[in-house]
């Protein structure tokens, strides 16, 4: 640290500046998570909860095959959505960074991809209903073109609808970080690779993909955690036919089985933390961001 510290003031200044954030985060994130962990060891009879220390909730959750099915289903959604969003996000970012040369156009098109982030996810989900429904636009087009004589039922209220909605909602979480790491690639590197005789494909796999990995990793963390934390899309878009870990947890909350819900939540968070740290093992995001 230099003698003249940024911001000036005394040694106490940073503590005062960060105190409001620290207090709110502690009260609204730290202590509530602790409460959920505590709750997972309590007893309940479906009417109210009683302080105790029992492993029974975990035993209940782990002893049923339902839990395994729930986790398998949730991981299946996460895997499919991850692959699709990486492919779409990478392709769109690649186009914006390396093919759109005018900076104004580049920023404009990038913002076009991000604007939906500031609008309602619920509405964006609902907006698929008139397209996918039995009487919807897609079925109508299929029938008019003569491809089918009956409307397809699997479009809406199915796993297909759930995955499609996830991709629609979450691809922008992939585009933003990949775009950022691609935009930092020095054009001279690509030029040098080309001068050394590398083909476009070799430049892509040997230069651009390795240098975009921070963005891909960050986007993957976002997408995986968002899919694994969702209960609403899976409930509405599957028409109640499919379930994820959190939608099952929501059902338990609705039935006032808070401790069981808490135990399930703790397990889910452990799985998510494991997945995130697996991604972080592959790519050291902190080191790469500091570059």
């Amino acid at each position: 640290m230099s003698a003249q510290s940024p911001g000036g003031g005394s040694r106490l200044t940073p503590y005062l500046q960060v105190a409001p954030l620290a207090l709110i985060m502690l009260a609204m994130v730290g202590i509530p998570i602790g409460t959920v962990v505590l709750l997972s060891f309590w007893e309940s009879d479906g009417i109210s909860v009683y302080p105790a220390f029992t492993w029974q909730n975990y035993r209940d959750v782990l002893s049923t095959g339902v839990t395994l099915t729930l986790f398998a289903n949730t991981l299946k959604y996460a895997a499919i959505v991850l692959v699709a969003t990486v492919l779409i996000g990478f392709t769109c970012s690649y186009f914006l960074v390396f093919h759109v040369r005018n900076l104004k156009w580049q920023i404009g098109l990038f913002l076009l991809c991000t604007i939906p982030f500031w609008t309602s996810n619920v509405i964006r989900m609902v907006s698929w209903i008139p397209f996918l429904g039995r009487e919807g636009l897609f079925n109508r087009m299929l029938m008019q073109s003569g491809l089918t004589d009956r409307p397809l039922d699997i479009l809406l209220y199915s796993d297909f609808a759930v995955v499609l909605t996830y991709i629609h909602l979450f691809t922008l979480f992939m585009i933003v970080p990949i775009f950022n790491s691609m935009a930092k690639i020095n054009p001279n590197l690509i030029e040098a690779a080309r001068d050394a005789g590398a083909s476009s494909w070799q430049i892509l796999t040997g230069v651009i993909i390795p240098l975009s990995r921070t963005g891909i990793a960050l986007g993957s963390i976002f997408v995986v955690t968002l899919v694994m934390g969702d209960f609403f899309v899976v409930r509405v878009m599957s028409g109640g036919q499919s379930a994820s870990v959190v939608s099952a947890m929501k059902n338990q909350i609705d039935q006032l089985f808070y401790p069981q819900a808490a135990a399930l939540a703790v397990l889910l968070v452990l799985v998510v933390v494991l997945m995130v740290s697996a991604i972080l093992r592959v790519v050291d995001i902190r080191a790469e961001l500091a570059r």
Binding site: Q17, L21, M28, W118, T119, P130, R194, T225
Partner: protein, 279 residues
Amino acid sequence: MSQSSTRRGMGFYLLAAFFGLFVLFLYGPMLMIFILSFQGPTGGLTFPMRGVSTHWFNDLWTSSRYGDLGGAFRRSLLLGVMAMAITAVVCLFAALGFRRRFWGAGPIFYLSIISLIVPGILLGLGISQLFQLLGLRLAWWLSALGAHLSWTLPFGLLIMFAVLNRFDGSWEEAARDAGARPWQVLGLVTVPILFPGLIAVALFGFTLSYDEMPRSLLTVGGRNTLPIEISNMTTNVTTPALYAIGTVTSAVSFLVIALAFVAIAVIQKQRSRARGRTE
């Protein structure tokens, strides 16, 4: 530059077509419900349009079928404004503080990241049970506001970090050397320079709170916010009124986004003009 700057090959057009399809995928469905919300009184949830009317918009505010939509709308707007103001102020100071090393910086940063990763409904459960244990009553302006801040503050903090990355601390030093007091440095130097970034933080603060649903669900208490009312409507309402409320709430979002963008653009323009004068 070689090849890439001379002529556009097949690759460009293929990628441009892919990008165009993605934008259509992103906005097409939304556009469709905006159109369908002007469905005639006898029209249904899908095309064709049976006439054009504002029937379903009137229905929203006059019919009692949809619960307290007006109240929910007011509460969500108010919550958004509160979350916006708190997010902007708290994140500005926190990010300024994070420029120096201090005890506890790591844990606070990680707590913020954890808040982004944890499922929203889990935090809602935690906050509501915490209130229960403390004997406090859940209320939209307290427990739900707190839940919203757990969502808006980490985003605001990360953006403020990015903004401060490009901020030159020697401006502040120069002001201090010229005898400015800490509050003068903040009000006359730091905040004016960072103002476009602060607008971005405020935009995130408002819109993330205004559209927040999973964290609010268990923390609002008796009076719902608009996203909760809308998500209830997705299962109960089978008329274009659902699309009408979607159009209304999206219009609010787009208005706020446009205001923020225009404000930032105006400031940038003034700055480049000022720079032109001094050169």
